[in-house]
């Protein structure tokens, strides 16, 4: 990390609504360095509520992006959903340890497991390191929630849809994991809601894999 502490107002450049409740906020990066997988603490300028969001954009992108799912009863996401270009965000960070080193990528097969917007940090990894050897398993309810699906190589990406039969796999992420085979030196990165993460870890443990091979970022 550098000796500079970032704590700034950043202008919103664009808000792209992907589904009724999910959107991407693009805002100024101001040349902030970060490590893919890290997150920012984000709040509307002058607001007192802040939340953490994984950086969705890649290392070489000139701007920042976050992928947000609106929690209708939430304090922050409904406000973020209303953002317009030119509005200002208070940004603190980047921070976090949900990162992957080159060494790990070279020596181990990498499996990324996400539900919903939990795909955000993985998107940043894949965009930043296009040659990365990975397999991504994304669990959503409907295919419309397969955010940014074209960015991932088809043979590396498994879309698990739990409420319709439009994905590569019909069922939950955990159903897929139950059936899948993984080499014993695989590293697993899990991101999203804690229930999925716990269930997935249990399943992987049952397959003889060790918790030391598993890394998690819990959103709630």
């Amino acid at each position: 990390m550098s000796e500079t502490y970032y704590h700034n107002m950043h202008k919103v450049l664009q808000v792209q609504h992907l589904t009724e409740h999910t959107f991407v906020v693009q805002f100024e990066r101001k040349e902030m360095p970060f490590i893919p997988g890290q997150h920012l603490v984000v709040g509307k300028k002058g607001d007192k509520e802040f939340r953490q969001y994984s950086i969705y954009s890649g290392l070489n992108d000139p701007h920042f992006e976050i992928l947000v799912r609106e929690v209708e009863t939430g304090l922050v996401t409904p406000k973020l959903k209303q953002l317009k270009p030119g509005d200002e965000l208070e940004i603190n960070g980047p921070m976090g340890y949900f990162t992957v080193s080159e060494q790990r990528c070279l020596n181990h097969p990498i499996v990324m497991i996400a539900t919903g917007t939990g795909i955000a940090p993985f998107n940043s990894w894949v965009k930043s390191f296009p040659d990365m050897n990975y397999k991504m398993i994304h669990g959503v309810r409907k295919a419309e929630e397969a955010y940014g699906i074209d960015r991932y190589k088809k043979d590396r990406f498994v879309l698990c849809t739990s409420q319709e039969k439009s994905g590569n796999f019909n069922g939950r992420v955990t159903d897929y994991l139950q059936k899948a085979y993984f080499p014993s030196n695989t590293l697993f990165y899990l991101c999203g809601n804690s229930e999925m993460i716990f269930d997935a870890m249990e399943l992987l443990k049952d397959k003889g894999l060790n918790t030391n091979q598993m890394f998690a970022e819990v959103y709630f």
Binding site: M1, S2, E3, Y5, H7, N8, M9, V41, G43, K45, G46, D47, K48, E49, F50, Q52, G74, L75, E90, N92, M95, G96, Y97, S194, I197, F198, M201, T211, N212, A216, V218, F220
Partner: protein, 487 residues
């Protein structure tokens, strides 16, 4: 003119208060314990629980009522959540983060208080605020003070910015004790445990320059301080925020060497470390240097991997186990302390039992066990607090009993041994003095000799209890250490 300071919360606030006092006293104010005779009234706030926050509101309402009758100025600093800050701004004359302490005299001057005399009719003080400012301001801050209004403008970010914290560390503290001192080495936290609001109140992790820390520690050792605690929210992340800074292990090594050259006059502790950054080289340094006290506080919080994930603790049980194994291998005589939260959102009986089993496995000497309560500002505050209070109480009780059982067995093994003890105070029960061993085990001795307070003594252990030991005074050590014996 007098000032009164209310210090709430943790050791970090205690340590900060030593610097706050320095700044205020260098302006010509003198301290009073009686708030009715003070003209400058301040609080160092704590946002960890609701109780201290209630106390802040309580005090400020009392003080504001007195404003009709007498000339007083109020301020608040410390751990303040954005939400409370908004409210405090309407109630206090000054609300500032600790990192802006050095600017406090300037703030007062802008407010029309040129010196304590401006608050008083009587003219006994001779201090001049110009001298105060030159004493307190650092080279780097003088520039920004030229235009302070830019700093306090409406567009100021709500979350604390820690980059000015160096200013606070530049203030020479007024230590509250003559034998125990806290030395801040790091401030802020980047860990974002889901139950904790500190990252939102204290801001990002910032490390104090190692040269300053070593200087302060050496000075304290030379001045006869017996217990020195390196303080920070995350002490072992020390140096990670700066490219050219020592790591925590290297910092300990430098302090260890300084201790050697001064014949190890003190016990140097640190708190709180995070298990994620408890590397083997930190433990090796503690093992190698006698001045580094053989007591380790390693917060576990929960003994269940799933709860740890939900707490966003960034370590699992295996990682923790490795650190404890390193401690037991390299420093077998070390005592081990921990922090635990019982009844965290969703904690099942089975998950609690995993924590209980950890007590058997890790054999703690002391554990600070808290029942979970959602803390405003923390991520988990918005989660359902679904464990009934009665269940939390029951888990607290069972875990406390387990701790007492383990600690009692350990303490029993100390009977007959001679241990070095730092005498800290007189005991409530007359005729006893109280202190602690190098491993921070509470030790009582039968003596009325108050002159022993602040001294190292040798004690023969004759009694053991659940969480303490007692013994007879063997000899007073003349500011010299005896070789470390296992507690």
């Amino acid at each position: 003119m007098k000032y009164h300071l209310v210090v709430l919360g943790c050791q970090m606030n205690m340590s900060d208060s030593e610097r706050v006092k320095s700044v205020i006293e260098s302006m010509g104010f003198t301290h009073t314990d009686n708030e009715d005779e003070a003209s400058l009234l301040g609080v160092l706030s704590c946002s960890v629980r609701q109780k201290p926050i209630d106390k802040v509101y309580n005090r400020i309402h009392v003080w504001n009522r007195q404003k009709n009758k007498r000339n007083i100025i109020t301020f608040v600093s410390g751990c303040v959540l954005p939400d409370d800050r908004e409210k405090f701004l309407k109630l206090f004359d000054f609300v500032f983060p600790m990192s802006e302490l050095g600017e406090f005299p300037q703030m007062l001057r802008e407010y029309g208080v040129a010196s304590p005399l401006s608050l008083s009719q009587d003219r006994e003080s001779t201090h001049n605020v110009e001298d105060v400012l030159s004493e307190v301001e650092t080279k780097s801050k003088k520039q920004s003070l030229l235009n302070p209004l830019t700093k306090y403008s409406a567009s100021k970010p709500v979350l604390p910015n820690n980059k000015d914290i160096f200013q606070l560390w530049n203030v020479k503290p007024q230590y509250q004790s003559e034998f125990e001192a806290y030395v801040p080495i790091q401030n802020g936290c980047d860990k974002f445990c889901s139950f904790c609001a500190v990252p939102y109140t204290r801001g990002r992790e910032v490390s104090r320059p190692s040269a300053e820390i070593i200087d302060e520690v050496v000075q304290l050792m030379k001045n006869g301080y017996k217990s020195i605690t390196l303080l920070g929210q995350n002490v072992n992340s020390y140096g990670l925020d700066r490219d050219e800074e020592l790591s925590f292990a290297e910092l300990l090594t430098e302090i260890g060497k300084a201790g050697d050259s001064l014949q190890n006059p003190s016990w140097v502790y640190f708190t709180s470390p995070h298990p994620r950054d408890m590397s083997r080289d930190v433990i090796e340094a503690i093992a190698k240097y006698p001045v580094l006290a053989k007591q380790i506080h390693l917060p576990l919080q929960s003994g269940d991997d799933k709860v740890l994930i939900k707490m966003n603790r960034k370590h699992n049980l295996d990682r923790y186990r490795e650190s404890v194994a390193d401690i037991r291998e390299l420093i077998p005589q070390a005592t081990l302390f921990t922090d635990i939260i019982v009844g965290f959102t969703g904690e099942t009986e089975e998950q609690f039992m995993n924590t209980l089993q950890c007590f058997d496995e890790f054999q703690y000497n002391m554990a600070y066990i808290a029942m979970y309560s959602p803390r405003p500002g923390a991520q988990s505050y918005r989660w359902e607090d679904d464990i009934p209070q009665a269940t939390k109480k029951d888990r607290l009780k069972r875990l406390s009993e387990k701790l007492e059982e383990i600690s009692a067995a350990y303490n029993h093994r100390l009977l007959g041994k001679e241990l070095q003890v730092l005498i800290r105070s007189t005991e409530r029960k007359t005729g006893f003095l109280s202190g602690h061993t190098e491993g921070k085990l509470v030790t009582r001795i039968k003596s009325k000799d108050q002159s022993l307070i602040g001294k190292f003594v040798k004690v023969k252990i004759t009694e053991s209890a659940d969480l303490s030991i007692a013994g007879e005074l063997v000899t007073v050590l003349k500011d010299k250490r005896i070789p470390v014996s296992a507690d």
